[in-house]
Amino acid sequence: MNKTPPLVAIVDDELSVRRALERLLRSAGVEVRTYASGAVFLDAIQTHPVDCVVLDLHMSEMNGFEVQAHLMRTGKWLPIIIMTGHDTPDSRARALAGGAVEYLLKPVDDQVLLDAIAKALANDKP
């Protein structure tokens, strides 16, 4: 059986972070698509679905919670890994309550992220 590599989306409004995460996942054999904003991502997945999304919380136009809420509203279930550089108890609780598989803090260790993705992909259905 020809197993296709998982396709992971990275949504972060900072180019340097997108590039670094894309390289990391690619170096681990994960296929990656990057998006600079939540709106672009939501638009793209209409036609190019992904298996999992690594979503930054703090983005200027549409933040991670809004993306999460939009996915929830539209019934598009997708494993979400939240990554943030600004941790607060509220945001952790809100992210997990919103259905996030993992809530990770930047900077994140490669193995932690890869494990989170593996976990997300293993539970890719509710």
């Binding site: 900072e14 340097s16 972070v17 590039r19 670094a20 995460l21 390289r23 990391l24 690619r26 170096s27 681990a28 919380l57 703090h58 983005m59 200027s60 933040n63 990554m83 943030t84 550089g85 600004h86 941790d87 607060t88 509220d90 945001s91 803090l105 930047k106 900077p107 994140v108 260790d109 490669d110 992220l113």
Partner: protein
């Protein structure tokens, strides 16, 4: 015999007759000469009288008294004008003592001595003295005379004129009094008042200038700053400014300059220098006035230090509120660095690593590391204490920096922010970290003001504009509940707060910081919801750009 006798008698008679005739002739001759002499004397007296009459006329017309003193006969001839001048009656005859008796006792001896010396030495005589009148009044008389000798060595006549100079003396005394008064006025003045010529020599100085230089006013006149001030830099500066005033013929205002006094203490002065214009419009001298602002300056320095310390304290407090945002700012590059490094290690473990990609990764790591360093540097600046320098600040860049710093906090607070930045704004003159602090403070307040507002309405707008009057205006507009109407003017008072947390010092500190920038800070309630806070900062002048 009888012939002889007759002859003798005849001879005697003839002789006697001749003798009588001779005597008569002699008598006649003498009478004739006496008559002629008398006539000549009469004529001479008439001429003298006529001359005196003419001198009287001239004397009266010129209002100048004329006189002659025959020292040997001790007789003084005077014109009517002289009699009037000295209070002599029209008929009294005057000798030297009578003349002296009209003179004020304090001046009399000097006049007497001078007159006698002139006679003795044949010198010209000139004195000014007081004459006492019968009514007790005084007048000042100027007398000039010269000696005329009758024979080779005998001084005979001192002749001259006298005139009333009371009016001139009165004016001189008045002038003297006015000068003395003005002298007191400039000496009582605690400011430094001075005039200097082109060579920098003092032509006028008041007591305070002399005091600063540890000398007297008289010793200062004709000397330069270099003669009293050992600080060559200061002296050079004064000379430069003085030359500028005299060359440009423009008044100069020097807001602050230093003067080192005789004891080596430095005084801060605020000085005005103005050219003293000649009738042809040129200037050879300048007039200066300097106010000693040392105490004010020290107070300002103390206040600035207090302000800076308070601002620093306020920044430290604000940083604790910003810790989340700062963590985000730092974690972003750190996240990129870590992921890049781990990706590189993984690539290197592959059979044929793509070295170009590794190189690119390393470049990105360097860039992100620098960015993290800048965040740390920004923090260091915010936490820095002590003297802060003014610099040209780009208004829009300042807003963008602060927005970036607050972005994640605003996100957490559910605040939707927008910026409306006027294009092509000139730089303002300011201390970057303090302007940043004010903007941060206003934006944090705006976020706090919208905590209770439904999430969709938590809108914050930061805008910049040019007021057309030399200032850039920053506006922070929120959609909160606004400022209670009575409190609009009070929000900048210390310890005023509508928050349940905080000391109420934030806006008071902001006001002090903006006022120290010669700017203004104010607040208004919006027509719709919320409030707007404004502050204006002067545009950097062209020579500072």
């Amino acid at each position: 015999m009888s012939l002889g006798f007759t002859a003798i008698v005849s001879l005697l008679v003839v002789g006697t007759c001749l003798a009588i005739g001779f005597i008569h002739a002699l008598i006649w001759l003498k009478r004739t000469r006496d008559t002629r002499l008398a006539a000549e004397l009469k004529s001479a007296n008439a001429q003298l009288r006529k001359a005196h009459e003419q001198m009287d006329l001239i004397s009266g017309a010129a209002a100048v008294g004329m006189w002659e003193w025959d020292s040997q006969r001790d007789s003084v001839w005077v014109t009517d004008q002289t009699r009037a001048l000295y209070g002599f009656s029209a008929t009294e005859s005057i000798d030297f003592d009578r003349f002296l008796s009209a003179i004020h006792t304090e001046d009399r001896a000097a006049v007497r001595g001078a007159a006698l010396r002139s006679l003795q030495e044949g010198n010209r005589f000139q004195r000014e003295y007081r004459v006492i009148h019968a009514d007790g009044s005084l007048s000042w008389v100027l007398t000039r005379g010269r000696v005329e000798v009758a024979t080779a060595d005998t001084p005979a006549v001192l002749r001259g004129i006298s005139l009333d100079v009371s009016e001139r003396r009165r004016r001189e005394e008045l002038l003297q009094q006015e000068r003395a008064f003005l002298r007191q006025v400039i000496d009582i003045n605690p400011n430094l008042i001075f005039a200097k010529d082109r060579a920098g020599r003092y032509t006028l100085a008041n007591h305070r200038v002399a005091e600063i230089y540890g000398t007297t006013v008289d010793a200062l006149i004709g000397k330069t700053d270099a003669d009293f001030n050992d600080n060559a830099t200061e002296v050079k500066w004064f000379r430069k400014l003085d030359a500028q005033v005299l060359d440009t013929l423009q008044e100069h205002f020097i807001a602050e300059e230093q003067v080192t006094d005789a004891k080596g203490r430095v005084h801060w002065m605020q000085t005005v220098k103005r050219p003293l214009l000649n009738p042809d419009g040129s200037a050879d001298q300048l007039l200066g006035a300097a106010t000693d602002i040392t105490e004010r300056k020290q107070t300002e320095l103390d206040l600035a230090q207090q302000r800076n310390e308070l601002a620093h304290l306020s920044r430290v407090m604000m940083l604790s509120e910003l810790s989340g945002s700062l963590a985000h700012e730092l974690n972003q590059p750190l996240a990129a660095i870590l992921s890049n490094a781990q990706a590189a290690l993984r690539f290197l473990a592959h059979d044929a690593p793509d070295l170009d990609e590794i190189r690119e990764i390393l470049r990105d790591i360097v860039a992100d590391d620098k960015r993290a360093g800048e965040v740390i540097q920004g923090l260091r600046v915010m936490l820095k204490k002590g003297e802060l320098r003014r610099e040209p600040v780009k208004p829009n860049a300042l807003v963008q920096d602060v927005v970036r710093l607050l972005r994640s906090d605003m996100l957490n607070a559910g605040v939707i922010y927008t910026t409306e930045l006027a294009p092509k704004l000139p730089n303002v003159s300011g201390i970057y970290v303090q302007l940043q602090q004010v903007l941060l403070n206003l934006m944090l307040n705006a976020c706090d003001a919208m905590v209770d507002v439904p999430a969709a309405n938590r809108r914050l707008t930061v805008s910049t504009s040019h007021d057309g009057a030399g200032h850039v205006v920053f506006r922070v507009c929120d959609q909160g509940h606004g400022i209670p109407v009575d409190d609009v003017a009070l929000v900048f008072q210390p310890f005023f707060t509508t928050k349940t947390h905080g000391l109420g010092l934030g806006l008071a500190v902001c006001r002090r910081l903006i006022e120290a920038h010669h700017g203004r800070i104010w607040a208004t309630n919006n027509i719709g919801e919320g409030a707007s806070f404004f502050f204006s900062v002067p545009i950097k002048s062209l020579d500072e750009q």
